[in-house]
Each structure stands twice: as structure tokens, then as C-alpha cells.
């Protein structure tokens, strides 16, 4: 079965810093480089925090104190590896079922004592699919639907 678009995003960047520093900046200063328009709160963001532990969250805190926890930290292995869930669906709402969340893995590789390669993969983006399609009308005649429903069914098969 050919897929129109692979449900993954790969990105990498090489930074002029030690692996420890590259890891520390990524986690401690996440809010300093995350694009500002990425905001599910009703108000402006006062602070974004990456909680440095498995079971922690990445969350935005608004200027009125409201919070949005939009990622769960799944792996925290300084200074080499991070995995967190991506709990934001296509309609910009938090996913209710963790099975509908995608996943981001960041790997830090020391190229030299002062150069680090940071590799990012955002995978299982199609896990957001069932939510997207289930909320659309269930008509079967449109092109594309059989494919999506197959994938939807496949998720139950592998998930249970």
C-alpha cells in the first residue's frame, strides 16, 4: 500500500555546543525558541516549561495562570535522548486518547567536544488520523476514505 505522504517528519540541526549544553538548552530553554503562535491557551503565554523527568509534561502557562499540558515526557536520558508525546490534534485541541497522540524523539550526537548534531523525528502522525476522520462525516463514496478506514481498523488490530 503506497501512502501519499509518510506520516513522519525528520529534521536535524548541528549546533556549536557540547552535547551536554545542547541537551540543556533544548530542555531548559524550550520556551525561548518555540514559535510564539503555537498556543492553545485563550491568552498569551507567560512561560513554557519542559519538565525534566519521565512522566513530566511540556506545558504552557498563560498570563492569567491557565495551563495547557500538550506533551508528556516519555524518555529523558541526558545528554543523548528525549522522547515526548504530541497531544495536539489536527483541529488544535488536546487529544483525549493517548493512542491518538504522535511522538517526537530527539537524539543528541556529539560530533566533536564543541559540535553536536541534534536529530528530530516526529512519527506516528497518522495516529491523529482516526480523530480527524471520525469527526468528519462518514460518507463512504469519497476517494481516500477506504484507505483511511483501513488504517483506522489497523490501529485497533495492533493496539489491542
Amino acid at each position: 500500500m503506497t501512502k501519499p505522504t509518510a506520516p513522519e517528519v525528520y529534521r536535524h540541526i548541528v549546533v556549536p555546543a557540547s552535547i551536554e549544553k545542547a541537551f540543556a538548552v533544548f530542555t531548559e530553554r524550550f520556551g525561548d525558541f518555540k514559535p510564539a503562535e503555537h498556543n492553545l491557551l485563550a491568552v498569551a503565554i507567560a512561560e513554557t516549561r519542559f519538565e525534566p523527568r519521565v512522566g513530566g509534561h511540556i506545558y504552557d502557562r498563560g498570563i492569567d495562570g491557565s495551563e495547557c499540558r500538550w506533551a508528556r515526557v516519555l524518555v529523558y536520558e541526558p545528554p543523548t535522548r528525549l522522547v515526548f508525546s504530541w497531544d495536539i490534534g489536527p483541529t488544535w485541541q488536546l487529544v483525549v486518547d493517548p493512542n491518538n497522540a504522535s511522538e517526537v524523539e530527539i537524539t543528541f550526537v556529539a560530533e566533536s567536544p564543541e559540535r553536536t548534531r541534534v536529530e528530530l523525528i516526529h512519527r506516528h502522525i497518522d495516529r491523529h488520523g482516526p480523530g480527524w476522520e471520525a469527526v468528519a462525516d462518514g460518507i463512504s463514496g469519497d476517494a481516500g476514505w477506504p484507505l483511511y478506514l483501513d488504517r483506522y481498523a489497523a490501529l485497533f488490530a495492533e493496539g489491542s
Partner: protein
């Protein structure tokens, strides 16, 4: 398609009215008038937003008699993937800048 190709997809959904339109369409297909009835904006404004969403590949339209019915594009996963691709390229670029700055400060 061409017009908005260079526009940031996150910015497209960053607009509250457009997000509201997508949320309404998530419940089922709607005509422009039905959307305008549910939103605090005029019909021409809804049409404008729908055009942006359509060009971004987030909604599709279909003529039913004299009405145009809009629905979420089933290829939304591809659209989401594109959004995330843009998000991460911007985030990593910002990360690189923060690293550069903190390396400068350490000197």
C-alpha cells in the same frame, strides 16, 4: 494553492475564526451560510477564511445544487504533517539562535 503555499500553516490555523470554522466542520459538512450563522462574523468574512483553508488543503468544497458545502479534507493528516514540518523547522532554527547567543555570552 500557489497563493498561500509560502504562508505558514501554523499561522493559518493560528487565526481564531479559522480555527472555529475547522472545529465546526469537524462536526460535519456545512454551507457558508450555516457557518456564518454559528460564528460572530459576516458571510463574506467566512468565505474569505474558507478560501484560505481550502488553499492550505485543510477543507474541501463541493457544489450541491446552488450551495457550496465545505468539509474537512480527509487528507488532513498530510496537512497536519506539513504543519508539523513547518513547526519543527522554525523551532530548530530558533534553538540554533539561542545556542549561538549563549555561546557568544560565554565568551
Amino acid at each position: 494553492m500557489q497563493t498561500y503555499h509560502l504562508e505558514d500553516e501554523w499561522a493559518i490555523l493560528g487565526d481564531r475564526t479559522r480555527r472555529a470554522i475547522v472545529e465546526h466542520l469537524a462536526e460535519g459538512p456545512l454551507a457558508v451560510r450555516e457557518l456564518a450563522d454559528r460564528l460572530p462574523v459576516s458571510r463574506p468574512a467566512v468565505s474569505q477564511h474558507l478560501k484560505v483553508l481550502k488553499d492550505a488543503g485543510l477543507v474541501t468544497e463541493r457544489a450541491v445544487g446552488a450551495r457550496r458545502i465545505y468539509r474537512l479534507d480527509p487528507a488532513g493528516v498530510a496537512a497536519l504533517r506539513d504543519q508539523l514540518d513547518t513547526f519543527w523547522s522554525r523551532t530548530l532554527a530558533g534553538y540554533g539562535e539561542v545556542i549561538d547567543r549563549s555561546v557568544e555570552e560565554a565568551k
